[in-house]
C-alpha cells in the first residue's frame, strides 16, 4: 500500500515536470489550433489526476482494511539493488564501447555478467567471453555488415 502512495507521488511529480517542459515548446504560426503543446498539456493533467486517484484510493482502502504485503513483494524489493547492479554493467558497456571497441566491450560485458550471475570462476568464463565477443562481431559486423564501434584505443587491430 505504501508503494501505491509512492507511485502516486511519482506520477504527480512526473506530470508536473512534463507540464513544465511542455511550456517550453515553441509556439509556431505554422501550427494548428490544438498546437504542438496541446496534447502534452492534456496528458500531464490526465497523469496528475490518475496519480491523485491512485493515492486517494490507497488511503481510503488502507482505512478500511489493512492488507499485508505479500512475501513475493518483499523478495522482489530486495532484488532491486541486484537488478540495478545488473543494469550498471550495461551502463559501463555504453561508456567503454567508444574506447575499447565492439569485440572487447562485448567480451567484457559477457564475462562481467557471467561472474555477476555466479558462474564458477574457471577458465570457461574468459573463453566464453572472448568467444562471445568474436561470435557477435562475426554475426553483426561481418555477416550482417552493420557498423559497430571499432574503439579508439584499439583502432587498427581489427
Amino acid at each position: 500500500m505504501r508503494k501505491d502512495l509512492i507511485s502516486g507521488l511519482v506520477l504527480l511529480a512526473g506530470a508536473g515536470t512534463y507540464y513544465a517542459w511542455a511550456g517550453e515548446i515553441a509556439d509556431s504560426t505554422l501550427s494548428d489550433e490544438v498546437g504542438a503543446a496541446g496534447l502534452p498539456h492534456v496528458l500531464a493533467i490526465v497523469l496528475a489526476i490518475l496519480g491523485i486517484l491512485l493515492m486517494g484510493r490507497t488511503l481510503l482502502a488502507s482505512q478500511a482494511r489493512q492488507v499485508a504485503a505479500g512475501a513475493d513483494d518483499d523478495e522482489r524489493d530486495a532484488r532491486l539493488p541486484r537488478a540495478v547492479g545488473f543494469l550498471l554493467f550495461g551502463a559501463a558497456y555504453v561508456i567503454l564501447l567508444p574506447f575499447v571497441g565492439y569485440v572487447i566491450g562485448t567480451a567484457l560485458l559477457i564475462g562481467g555478467i557471467a561472474l555477476y550471475e555466479g558462474a564458477p570462476r574457471t577458465w570457461v568464463v574468459p573463453v566464453a567471453a572472448i568467444g562471445g565477443g568474436i561470435f557477435y562481431w562475426a554475426v553483426f559486423v561481418k555477416l550482417l555488415g552493420v557498423h559497430q564501434p571499432a574503439g579508439s584505443l584499439v583502432q587498427g587491430l581489427f
Binding site: L43, R79, G90, I110, E117
Partner: protein, 498 residues
C-alpha cells in the same frame, strides 16, 4: 497474364528458388536479432540487390520481409524480447508458454500461424489487389483517428487488475510518443537540443527496455533453473491443435489484411488488436496472459499477413504503408521500376516472381524453422550466468544498429530501470507500449482532421469509417469496464468470505 508455363519457367530457368530461400533465411536471422527490424534487415541486403536481375532482386526483398516478420517471434517467445515491433504482442503468451517449459510448442504454433497468415496474405495480394487498393483510399485522417482510438481501447482489457495503473502507464507511453518533431507544425518537443531525439524515441527501445531488460534484471541473482529441463525439440501443432486455433488465426489474418492496406502501422497494431480480439472470442479467455496458445497464434497470423498485404498499396499506388515497404519501394526505384497500375502490365515478370518467390519462401519457412528452432531453444537453455550475459550483449548490439547511437542504448537501459520499478509497484507495461506505438498516429490524425474541418469535431461523425471504428472502440471500453467492475466485486466478496 500469368500462366502455369510462366510459373514453371520461373521455377526452373532461374535460380528463383535459391533467391527466395536465401532471402527468407536472411530475413529470419535479421528479424530474430532484437532491434534489427524488418526494415533494417531489408535495407542491409538492398545494396547487394543492385546488381541483380530486377525480378529476382524484388522477389528477394519480399522474401526477406516475410522471413523477418516471422523471425521476430523467436526471441519474443524465447527471451521475452520482440525481435521486431510487430512481435511485441507475441511476447505476452509466448514467453509465458516458454516459462512453463512449452517453448517447442509455442514456436511450433507461431511457425504454423505465420505460414497460414502469409499464405492468406499472398492469396489476397494475388487475387484482390485491385479492389483492396481502393479500400486503402477510403481512409481519411478522421478514419485513422478512429483506428488509433480503437487500438488504444485495448488498454482497458490489458491493465491486469488496476485500471488506474493501466491508464497511468498508457499516459506515460503517450508522453514518450510526443518526443521528437511535432507532426503538424514541425517544431521540436522535449528534444533538449539533442539531435538523437529529433526523430523521437523508437518503439522498439521501449519494448526492449520494458520487456527484455526488465526480465533480465528480475532474473538476476535468482537460483531458479527450471528452464534447463526443457525439451529442445520443436513441436509442430497437431491437426487437433490447429483446429482449436483456427478462430484466433482467422482473426489475425483479417486484421492483418486491413493493417497491411493502411499506411502507418506496419503490423504492430494488428498484432495487438488480434491478440485482444482472440481473447474476446476465445472459449478460454482466462488462459490469456497465462500461456494461451491462441495468444501466440493470433498476433503471429496477423503480422505475417501484413508482410504480404502491405505490398498491395505499395504496388498499386507506390505508397509504402510501413518502413519495410519503403525499403522495397527504394529497391523498385533503383531498378527503374515505378510502382502503380502500369507496373502490372509492363513488368509482369517482376510481379510474377514476387508471387512465386513469396510462395516458395512461405513453404520453405516450415523447413527452415524445423532446422533452426531446436538450435535456438538449445541456445537459450545454457547455464543462466552465461545466458544472461549473451542475451544482454545481443540486445545492446542489436539496438545499437538501429541508429548507430549510444544514446539509444542509454534510453533502453533507462527504460529497463523504469520497467523494473513498474513491476515492483504493480504497473502493467503493455498499456505503456501501446501508448508509444499508437500515440503518434492518434495525435497527428486528430489534429490533421481538425485542421481540415477548421476545428469542428463533427468531422469524426461525418466519416463513416471513423464512426464505425469509434463505436466499436466505445463498445469495447464499456464491455471491458463492466467486466472489470464485475470481477472486482467478485474478488471483494471472496475476500470478505475468507
Amino acid at each position: 497474364m500469368t500462366t502455369i508455363m510462366d510459373i514453371i519457367r520461373l521455377l526452373t530457368e532461374t535460380p528463383l528458388i535459391f533467391v527466395s530461400i536465401a532471402g527468407l533465411t536472411w530475413g529470419i536471422l535479421g528479424g530474430a536479432l532484437p532491434g534489427i527490424s524488418a526494415s533494417i534487415t531489408m535495407a542491409l541486403v538492398l545494396p547487394f540487390t543492385y546488381t541483380m536481375d530486377p525480378a529476382q532482386a524484388i522477389a528477394l526483398l519480399a522474401c526477406v520481409y516475410i522471413g523477418a516478420e516471422y523471425g521476430g517471434s523467436i526471441p519474443a517467445i524465447l527471451i521475452r524480447t520482440p525481435g521486431t515491433n510487430s512481435s511485441a504482442a507475441t511476447v505476452i503468451d509466448g514467453y509465458e508458454l516458454n516459462r512453463q517449459g512449452r517453448a517447442g510448442e509455442a514456436l511450433g504454433i507461431s511457425l504454423m500461424s505465420g505460414v497460414i497468415g502469409s499464405l492468406f496474405g499472398l492469396a489476397m495480394l494475388i487475387m484482390l489487389t485491385e479492389p483492396l487498393s481502393w479500400l486503402a483510399l477510403a481512409f481519411t485522417p478522421a478514419s485513422y483517428f478512429g483506428l488509433g482510438i480503437l487500438g488504444l481501447s485495448v488498454i482497458a482489457s490489458m491493465s491486469g487488475g488496476s485500471l488506474i495503473k493501466g491508464l497511468a502507464a498508457a499516459t506515460v507511453g503517450l508522453m514518450i510518443a510526443t518526443v521528437g518533431t511535432d507532426p503538424i507544425s514541425g517544431v521540436t518537443r522535449f528534444t533538449f537540443d539533442i539531435p538523437d531525439l529529433l526523430g523521437g524515441v523508437e518503439p522498439v527501445l521501449v519494448m526492449v527496455g520494458l520487456f527484455a531488460l526488465t526480465e533480465l534484471m528480475s532474473q538476476s541473482g535468482s537460483t531458479n533453473t527450471t528452464q534447463l529441463n526443457q525439451k529442445i525439440k520443436i513441436k509442430l501443432p497437431s491437426l487437433a491443435v490447429m483446429n482449436r486455433l483456427k478462430r484466433s488465426q482467422f482473426i489475425g489474418c483479417v486484421l492483418g489484411l486491413f493493417e497491411g492496406l493502411t499506411p502507418g502501422g506496419g503490423g504492430s497494431i494488428a498484432a495487438f488488436m488480434s491478440y485482444n480480439e482472440a481473447k474476446r472470442w476465445s472459449k478460454t479467455p482466462h488462459l490469456f496472459g497465462k500461456g494461451s496458445e491462441e495468444g501466440v497464434a493470433a498476433p503471429e497470423a496477423a503480422n505475417n499477413t501484413v508482410a504480404s498485404t502491405a505490398l498491395i498499396p505499395l504496388l498499386s499506388f507506390g505508397i509504402p504503408s510501413s518502413n519495410s515497404t519503403a525499403v522495397l519501394l527504394g529497391g523498385l526505384l533503383m531498378h527503374g521500376l515505378i510502382p502503380g497500375p502500369r507496373l502490372f502490365e509492363q513488368s509482369a515478370q517482376v510481379i510474377d516472381s514476387i508471387y512465386v518467390g513469396s510462395f516458395i519462401a512461405i513453404i520453405a519457412q516450415i523447413g527452415v524453422g524445423i532446422i533452426i528452432l531446436p538450435a535456438c531453444i538449445w541456445l537459450v537453455n545454457r547455464p543462466r550466468p552465461y545466458r544472461a550475459g549473451f542475451i544482454f550483449a545481443l540486445i545492446l548490439s542489436g539496438i545499437f544498429t538501429l541508429n548507430n547511437s549510444l544514446f539509444d542504448l542509454g534510453i533502453a537501459l533507462a527504460l529497463g530501470l523504469v520497467g523494473f520499478l513498474m513491476r515492483i509497484a504493480g504497473f502493467p507495461v503493455l498499456p505503456m507500449i501501446l501508448g508509444v506505438v499508437l500515440g503518434h498516429m492518434v495525435e497527428s490524425s486528430y489534429r490533421r482532421s481538425l485542421v481540415l474541418s477548421g476545428g469542428d469535431h463533427m468531422i469524426f461523425l461525418q466519416d463513416p469509417i471513423a464512426v464505425a471504428l469509434l463505436s466499436i472502440a466505445l463498445i469495447f471500453v464499456v464491455f471491458s469496464l463492466s467486466r472489470e467492475v464485475r470481477d472486482a466485486r467478485k474478488t471483494r466478496i471472496e475476500e470478505a468470505r475468507s
